[in-house]
């Protein structure tokens, strides 16, 4: 409701667009993962102070993402007409929101235990993190195409461009899966050096980082449904 502007206006028919906040929300997820990447570098270098500091920063960004998500949901009442199905939009918002949630969780797990592992594992973690970050950044590019899609009111060409990006995100997530499995094997091969507790902790980290890419892929998939099922 407009507060006391003393006008009888056409404004009431214009609802606020959920698409700009959606792009902002995707970028918050991206920011979380970029911070997590920094945090993992610090972790591998044994700089636990920095890991702690970054964990707090990620908490803040994740909360900002939650606020955007809540705003989008609360503004989508049943009387709002969108160029896509509102349900599809909400279905895609959910996994997108999990990107920052999962990054937050990994950031926390980095703070609880120092890294005691051979160099090959550090390299493996770096590869996994880099590929995951790449996946998420490609996903951000994908979401930003929504602006152009709306502008041309979903022209065939733009829809195709978007769908190509969806496929790319999916392919990249598959590569993350491969790195993830290899890293888990490596960790278990070094079981004697790392110790049972270390294996548990590292396996959990691997799983957590892999989940981030999973969520990006999942959200990309839902985005495709949203764009195709208009």
């Amino acid at each position: 409701m407009i507060k006391k502007e003393y006008i009888r206006s056409v404004l009431n028919v214009f609802a606020s667009s959920p698409f700009k906040p959606l792009v902002m929300h995707a970028n918050k997820g991206g920011d979380c993962v970029r911070k997590l990447n920094e945090s993992l570098q610090a972790y591998c270098n044994g700089d636990m102070e920095k890991v702690e500091a970054l964990n707090k920063e990620i908490d803040v960004i994740e909360h900002e993402a939650d606020v955007i998500k809540q705003t989008i949901r609360s503004e989508l009442s049943s009387s709002i007409m969108l160029p896509v199905h509102a349900n599809d939009l909400l279905n895609f918002l959910k996994p997108q929101d999990s990107i920052s949630d999962d990054a937050q969780e990994v950031a926390f797990w980095l703070t609880v235990r120092r890294l005691e592992a051979p160099d090959e594992i550090r390299v493996g973690f770096n590869d996994l993190m880099n590929k995951t970050l790449e996946t998420v950044e490609l996903y951000e590019d994908l979401v930003s195409t929504l602006g152009e899609l709306l502008e041309t009111s979903f022209s065939k060409r733009d829809v195709e461009d978007t769908l190509v990006l969806v496929t790319k995100v999916e392919e990249m997530e598959h590569q993350v899966d491969i790195i993830e499995k290899e890293l888990v094997k490596q960790i278990f091969r070094n079981e004697d050096a790392i110790g049972a507790l270390g294996v548990y902790h590292l396996a959990r980290l691997v799983r957590g980082i892999g989940d981030i890419a999973d969520k990006a892929e999942h959200a990309a998939d839902r985005l495709r449904t949203m764009v195709l099922r208009r």
């Binding site: 502007e5 009888r8 404004l11 609802a15 009387s79 160029p83 502008e151 041309t152």
Partner: protein, 345 residues
């Protein structure tokens, strides 16, 4: 009867207030869409609106003005009893409509000045019937039915035309382009034209809400003939442009900053549809609400997939405002008219 008779002066003053109100709000609404899309600056919009609103009112506003003045209530029968009765009744009608509009503006309700004045004039007619000045059957119910029917048809027609225009733009232009932003830039020129068109249309239809009652009063006092005098139309035009310049620019500003979603292609579609529907009704002598037609047209663009988010709950609010406005304006007018007769004016 002189122009400086207190009753005539009051009627003209009330009409001017109504015109100011229409310019400050309804015209600003119609023009705000051009600012929102970035097609025009506020200054440009005010200049365009000033010229074309005035032109529409003076050149094409007489038909609807006659409908408001003589189309609903048989003023000739009433003025046969006493010419002052019509002037008093029409003064009551403007005051009632003005009061209701001011209240609606205060509470941000989507009430139309057109609906208010038609309701108020009907209230005058019904009161005249109650006092036995005319028979109830002498009120031109067939015209009134047509008018109310046009209130339903005009937003729907706006929606259909806007839907078709935007679908064509989308299919033949937007979907074939590499860079939609260049297309939008090209549409800025077209939207400048529709801004003129919509101002002209608005002037041609809504000026009647202010000057219709003035003309009715002057006509029965033998100060105006069969045709609406030019100076009356000019007065209405000036009143609306002054309303826009003194208050309406703030409304335009508010609307302009809020509806950035309405890019030039979308704005063009909605404005062209609205202006065409309004001009058509001005031609058919039917008073309709420009704002409601514009809302219909915007929804049409939304239905064609042109807008990121459209709030359909506004339809319910508008329907409620239809149902409430006519009885409330009629009743208020009846009370004021009876009151004015009671104190012996």
């Amino acid at each position: 009867m002189s122009l400086f008779d207190p009753l005539v002066l009051l009627l003209v003053a009330a009409g001017l207030y109504m015109a100011w109100n229409i310019g400050a709000n309804d015209l600003a609404n119609a023009m705000g869409t051009s600012v929102g899309s970035g097609a025009l600056s506020i200054k440009q919009v005010i200049i365009i609106a000033g010229i074309f609103e005035f032109g529409g009112a003076v050149l094409f506003g007489k038909r609807v003005t006659s409908t408001i003045a003589k189309g609903i209530v048989p003023i000739d029968s009433i003025s046969a009893i006493d010419p002052h009765l019509v002037a008093i009744g029409m003064l009551a009608a403007i005051l009632a409509a003005g009061f209701w509009i001011t209240l609606a503006t205060f509470y941000n309700l989507p009430v139309s000045t057109t609906h208010s004045i038609v309701g108020a004039v009907l209230g005058f007619g019904l009161t005249a019937g109650y006092y036995g000045m005319i028979g109830y059957s002498e009120i031109k119910w067939d015209v009134l039915t047509k008018i109310v029917g046009s209130w339903l048809v005009s937003p729907l027609l706006g929606a259909v035309i806007a839907y078709i225009i935007f679908t064509l733009i989308r299919y033949f232009i937007l979907q074939k382009t590499d860079d939609p932003y260049i297309i939008e830039k090209k549409f800025v020129v077209l939207q400048t034209m529709t801004a003129c068109y919509i101002a002209f249309a608005h002037g041609s239809n809504d000026v009647a809400n202010a000057v219709g009652p003035i003309y009715a009063g002057l006509n029965s006092l033998d100060m105006a003939g069969v045709s609406v005098p030019l100076w009356v139309m000019v007065l209405g035009g000036i009143g609306m442009v002054v309303g826009l310049a003194t208050w309406g620019y703030r409304v335009i500003e508010t609307i302009g900053t809020r509806i950035t979603e309405l890019t030039p292609t979308r704005g063009f579609s909605a404005e062209f549809a609205t202006a065409s529907v309004v001009v058509l009704h001005s031609y058919s002598s039917l008073p309709i609400s420009t704002t409601h037609t514009l809302v219909g047209s915007v929804i049409g663009v939304g239905l064609a997939g042109g807008l990121a988010a459209v709030d359909l709950s506004v339809i319910g609010k508008i329907v409620v405002s239809w149902i409430v406005t006519v009885p409330v304006a009629a009743l208020t007018c009846a009370l004021i008219f009876a009151g004015l007769l009671g104190v012996g004016i």
